[in-house]
């Protein structure tokens, strides 16, 4: 789960990290008011779960409250990577003496959290990593000990020479690691971490990504989810335990298991089609999940054919068949559907489907080919 910048800032602030003032606003008028209170010169920043906000025009410097209002008017309602901006963060324009990067992530290879810093902050850190990897410094964190003071100090010396700034940066790193842990994050970064002309070290922008598996035990963090900032279909899917991602194609896919779902999409592509979505109904499916899945797929106007690919293990094929029959009992499907089922209770499922007038296939390649062909014919 992604947090908005303003939410991430609040978590860092709670952890003791110096973060400049900032207010969230949802209308140009409100932005103007906030900017006035802040003395006029502010930055208006789109709060949206997408990278590259700046390039997309979602971050603007204003010299006056009036200018802030004008910017806000443009930014609010803007689409960035398909997501509509419905709120902005207004912060005082900061005077920046230097910009660094500080971030902590879980590294899959070492199976540990890693704190990374770079004196090349304020820019895309992946580019720094690709072009000048020698400007990135890391400390591997033993999670049983946390980020040790000497590790933080050592990294801080890579950013600053001034002992006071070194101490401040080391403290911020330890606070960032604590915030990362407390939030159950898989990524927490400050970019840029700036020094101001008076020498103090301040976090100007923050990004935190939460491990979804942490949400069950962290109600306070789970409450930060902003459904308005996500695709409504993805939200609906998640609420019943489905995993759904909208894509650009026209073959609607409904599969059990993420790996098989991806393989199914790949096969759609292989046979010349384009998947309309990723949809994993998960392990122990029940008819209700299947109904929701089918509803989400059929609601997507770009879907031209529907493909079920179920390999029954824990998932029982008859459950899926019943779901399909129930979902289509009242509202007739307006698009062709291809159903492939194999594994647990396969024959029962085939009977159920046949009685309801559906055909059932057992071969994945055959099913995918049919679905692609039907989508092409319908398009």
């Amino acid at each position: 789960m992604n947090l908005h910048e303003y939410q991430a800032r609040a978590l860092l602030k709670a952890a003791g990290i110096p973060v400049p003032d900032g207010d969230v606003a949802t209308s140009p008028e409100e932005v103007e008011g906030v900017a006035k209170r802040m003395g006029g010169a502010v930055v208006v920043k789109a709060q949206v779960h997408a990278g590259g906000r700046g390039k997309a025009g979602g971050v603007k410097l204003a010299k006056s409250a009036g200018e802030a209002r004008v910017h806000a008017d443009k930014i609010l309602g803007m689409q960035i990577k398909g997501l509509i901006v419905d709120k902005v963060l207004v912060v005082p324009a900061a005077e920046i003496a230097s910009e660094s990067y500080v971030g902590v992530i879980v590294d899959r290879a070492s199976q540990r959290p890693v704190m990374m810093v770079s004196p090349a902050g304020g820019v895309d850190i992946e580019e720094v990593a690709a072009k000048t990897p020698e400007r990135i410094f890391q400390a591997s964190i033993d999670p049983r000990y946390g980020l040790l003071p000497h590790q933080a100090t050592s990294l801080a010396f890579q950013l600053y020479r001034e002992p006071q700034q070194v101490r401040q940066a080391a403290t911020i790193m330890r606070q960032l690691y604590q915030a990362f842990l407390d939030a159950g994050a898989s990524l927490a970064e400050i970019n840029p971490l700036i020094t101001t002309p008076d020498g103090s070290v301040v976090a100007l922008d923050a990004k935190i990504v939460i491990d979804d598996n942490e949400l069950e035990r962290r109600e306070d963090i789970a409450r930060l989810r902003d459904p308005a900032a996500e695709d409504p279909a993805e939200v609906e899917a998640r609420e019943v335990g489905l995993s759904y991602i909208k894509l650009d194609g026209n073959v609607g896919c409904c599969v059990n298991g993420a790996g098989l779902a991806m393989a199914t999409m790949d096969l759609v592509k292989y046979y010349g089609g384009e998947p309309a979505n990723f949809l994993d109904i998960g392990g122990s499916s029940n008819p209700h999940k299947v109904i929701t899945a089918l509803n989400i797929i059929t609601r997507d106007p770009s879907v031209k054919s529907i493909l079920f690919n179920i390999f029954g293990g824990i998932t029982r094929c008859d459950d899926v068949a019943n779901g399909i029959v129930t979902a289509t009992a009242n509202t007739k499907l307006e698009r062709p559907i291809v159903i492939r089922l194999t594994g647990t209770n396969e024959s029962i499922a085939v009977d159920i489907l046949k009685k309801a007038g559906f055909e059932a296939l057992t071969d994945m390649d055959e099913a995918v080919q049919q679905a692609v062909k039907q989508a092409r014919e319908a398009a």
Binding site: G51, V106, R108, N213, R217, G259, L260, M265, D266, G313
Partner: protein
């Protein structure tokens, strides 16, 4: 022959009386897996299905039955402690089926298990089956066939699809392992490749990867240097939108973005036969195995 589990496997089921635990224990018993004990705190002294003794703790279960392997079906909020408990009880192979274990918890679990010499498979995995010998986890036994192909995969149902293809064409399996798709897993591709290479009962290996991370790339390097048996592979997620599963910063450390393209290239560079479709596993394997005269 097989790896990790066989007729020597004496299994304790952690969470044997839960919904998933009891369902799959029945399946494992049907497959004649040696399920010697179950654990559910507070139900010590009872028996599962009138046969398998239930204990309050894994320690007691091990002391009484000599269990050497455990499988975990407890809910996610208890899974971490279940892994700790198994390792503390001296269990040498722990298979964690439970999904939803936080990654930060796993960063603490791994050094704990390593200090105790305990191998973990999973979490969030379908487990292991050595057809004809032992099933530990949830891989459907009816799709498997005893044989000489080693299968290792990050996926669940996609693995079943591949096993199913193998079995339909008479290519039996020595062992099939689902290592799980979480960012941190106890056993990775290389661990399985090493074991398959050393296993006289395995003649060829099927590796099923996914987008994300660099496990497949490292495994490919390992194959090119250390594995002499034929290896064929598949990568799921060619069409997956980038960045939906892993944070971008991961790439800074690994120097890789974990795309399917990159992984396929690594497989090809290592001489691994790459399937474009799961169904190709059969023809590719037959071709490769002929090549080395198996």
């Amino acid at each position: 022959m097989s790896i990790f589990v066989d007729r020597q496997t004496k299994l304790v089921v952690q969470g044997i009386t839960g919904r998933d635990g009891s369902f799959h224990t029945k399946q494992m018993l049907e497959y004649e897996t040696r399920v010697v004990a179950g654990v559910t705190p507070g139900k010590g002294g009872q028996r599962f299905e009138d046969t398998v003794p239930i204990f309050n703790t894994v320690g007691e279960a091990v002391a009484e039955t000599g269990a050497n392997t455990s499988v975990i079906y407890v809910p996610s909020r208890f899974a971490v402690d279940a892994m700790f408990e198994a390792a503390d009880a001296g269990i040498k192979l722990v298979v964690c089926i439970t999904e939803g274990v936080p990654v930060l918890d796993m960063t603490r679990v791994m050094p704990f298990l390593q200090e105790r010499g305990t191998r973990l498979i999973g979490p969030n995995c379908p487990g292991v089956i050595s057809p004809g010998a032992s099933k530990v986890g949830i891989i459907p036994a009816q799709i498997c066939l005893e044989g000489t192909i080693g299968v290792v995969s990050r996926s669940g149902t996609l693995t079943y699809e591949v096993i199913h293809q193998l079995t339909r064409h008479g290519l039996g399996q020595s062992t099939c392992i689902g290592i799980g798709g979480d960012p941190i897993v106890g056993t990775n591709f290389i661990d399985c490749l090493e074991a398959f290479e050393a296993d006289p009962g395995t003649e060829a290996i099927v590796m099923i990867g996914e987008i994300g991370g660099t496990d497949e790339q490292q495994a490919a390097k390992y194959v090119s240097h250390e594995v002499r048996k034929p290896v064929v592979g598949f990568i799921a997620g060619q069409t997956a939108p980038p960045g939906r599963r892993m944070g971008h910063a991961g790439a800074i450390i690994s120097g890789s973005s974990g795309t399917a393209k990159e992984k396929v290239a690594a497989f090809e560079a290592a001489g691994i036969g790459v399937m474009e479709r799961p169904v190709e596993v059969v023809s590719l394997l037959q071709e490769r195995m002929k090549g080395v005269g198996c």
